[in-house]
């Protein structure tokens, strides 16, 4: 169980998050949506424990987040960050094994090796195991990082998975596969929070959607409850049509075309 209570965060005078509250139970798959700069990644970093809120509190399994040591947290939550630059040319399997670092001291156990193998199969990177990380494509690198993040808590249900744009750079097949892995983890009692940009993916896979705007929580509910023309316009400032797919009963969002008006603001010369 994760509880975020009246959380505010600011850097200097800039308030990046204002009075955010929600709680998430084991087994929930939550998507966080919002425009660029809405505070999604900031919120994720606070929940990850990388930064502390200016006010308000976050607790995980009933215990305040900042009472956990970094080592304790590593066993019960994992984070996939937005930017993943690796400074040394490790092999893909070495990167994934780093996810198991919190679990062994000097040498990986058979269990660690098993988990790395399983996770790499699941994320479709097993065939890349011996490849040097910098030689992989952007999407492949992202899948390797996803595998690393999953390996960290693979055998710990109740753990918290924090995913900042997990499908960035992936082709459509792997976007679907990634969300489907995350969904299956949620069904195994993990808590999953993913920042997504694709509302249709969120509608397809999430149990619940939290929408942020200007650092505030604007909507929080099931896809059917929160995805509609009005909310999409409020959050993203785009006109759209929202349908319900008759076969799956999931929402489908079709943004309207925007006509670019070149000379709307006269150029000063």
């Amino acid at each position: 169980m994760l509880t975020v209570n009246n959380v505010t965060y600011q850097i200097g005078q800039a308030k990046l998050l204002k009075d955010i509250s929600f709680s998430i139970k084991s087994g929930e798959m939550v998507a966080v949506l919002g425009a660029n700069g809405a505070g999604k990644s900031t919120l994720l970093k606070l929940i990850a424990g990388a930064n502390r809120p200016a006010s308000g509190s976050i607790s995980l399994h009933g215990r305040p987040l900042h009472h956990y040591s970094s080592a304790e947290l590593a066993h019960i939550r994992t984070v996939l960050s937005q930017q993943n630059v690796v400074s040394l040319p490790f092999e893909a399997k070495e990167i994934v094994m780093m996810g198991r670092y919190p679990h062994y001291k000097n040498n990986p156990t058979a269990k660690d090796n098993d988990i790395v193998h399983t996770v790499m199969e699941a994320t479709g990177v097993y065939s890349l195991a011996d490849r040097s990380y910098p030689t992989l494509s952007g999407g492949e690198q992202q899948r390797v990082q996803l595998a690393r993040a999953l390996a960290q808590v693979w055998e710990q249900p109740n753990a918290l998975l924090l995913m900042d744009e997990p499908v960035a750079g992936m082709d459509i097949l792997y976007q679907q596969q990634t969300l489907s892995i995350l969904k299956s983890m949620a069904q195994k009692r993990f808590m999953v929070i993913s920042i997504l940009h694709d509302m249709n993916l969120a509608a397809q896979y999430a149990d619940r959607i939290i929408m942020l705007k200007h650092g505030r929580k604007w909507y929080d509910g099931t896809p059917a409850e929160v995805l509609n023309q009005k909310s999409v316009y409020e959050i993203f400032e785009i006109e759209s049509d929202v349908f319900t797919n008759p076969a799956t009963l999931k929402q489908l969002i079709m943004p309207h075309e925007i006509i670019f008006e070149q000379n709307k603001t006269p150029l000063t010369t």
Partner: protein
Amino acid sequence: MSKGIVYIILSVSLLTAGIVSVGLGAVPIPASEVLLLILHKLGMYHMQQVNEQHEVIIFIVRLPRLMLGILVGAALGISGAAIQGIFRNPLAEPGLIGISAGATLMAVAVIGLEATLLTTLSNLLGYYLLAFGAFAGAGVTALLIYQISRHEGKPNVATMLLAGIAINALAGALTGLITYLASEQQLRNITFWMLGSLGGATWQTVTALAPFVLIPVILLPRSGKALNAFSLGEMQADYLGLDVNRIKRRVILLSTMAVGAAVSLTGIINFMGLLVPHIIRLIMGVDNKHVLPASALLGALVLTIADMISRTLIAPIELPIGVITALIGAPVFLYILIRDKRKLSL
């Protein structure tokens, strides 16, 4: 190549190069005699007839020099690898980014300010004081560079290298100032020390240096896993459960301890910390668990060979050992620069 085999090849090569090196010089001694004499001295073999002149040359002159070379080489190799891990950059070389210059400055300051203990450089306490001074200088400079080169939690390569240039110049100027103000006796000590190289080796210097090198060589490889995690970024390392600040302190402390002590006895030997880990990564991959200990071994080997070359190339004149390491190291540095040109965005 299996990692075990690399360790074996490195160890055997080091042993061979060491024995050959001890045999080389104005009075050549065959490698077999060197080996037997050492075994004889260790009580593992009994020689019928001992050539006393050879015995003196080996045990008073050449063996301490070899040992000093091995220690300094190991220190520079392993600390180069460790500092690159912390700075998250393969170009972070103690000499280039000013750590060695900081050590030099403090060492010269110790001599220049003439602590009462240090009337002459030949006593053991004097060497320890010098080593501690250099260690402090190296440590402070490393922290300074680290803080300067960080931008939004990430070390910035360009800033790191440029700050290194500035620190090198500043430390150089201050070193010059102290030299200028030094008394005649101090000047003699400073000059003697600055000419350093491995030439001044005695068992005393070896004994003084040993703990400063052996402690890091034993303890640093334990941070190998942590340094691997560091390559993902500090925040990611934290997410993996590491106490990021503790690891930084530990690695900077241990590696500047080794660099400082090495510099305090032999002066700055450039490019070792760059060249050695780079070669190891090409052979064994980038896992710091192996890169750290193997860099210590290869560092010892490279410096032993470099010293052999510097003594014999234009004998009886001795080339400064830094000339040899820079001749090999500088092109490697340029190679990495060119290879990573796009990534560095200098």
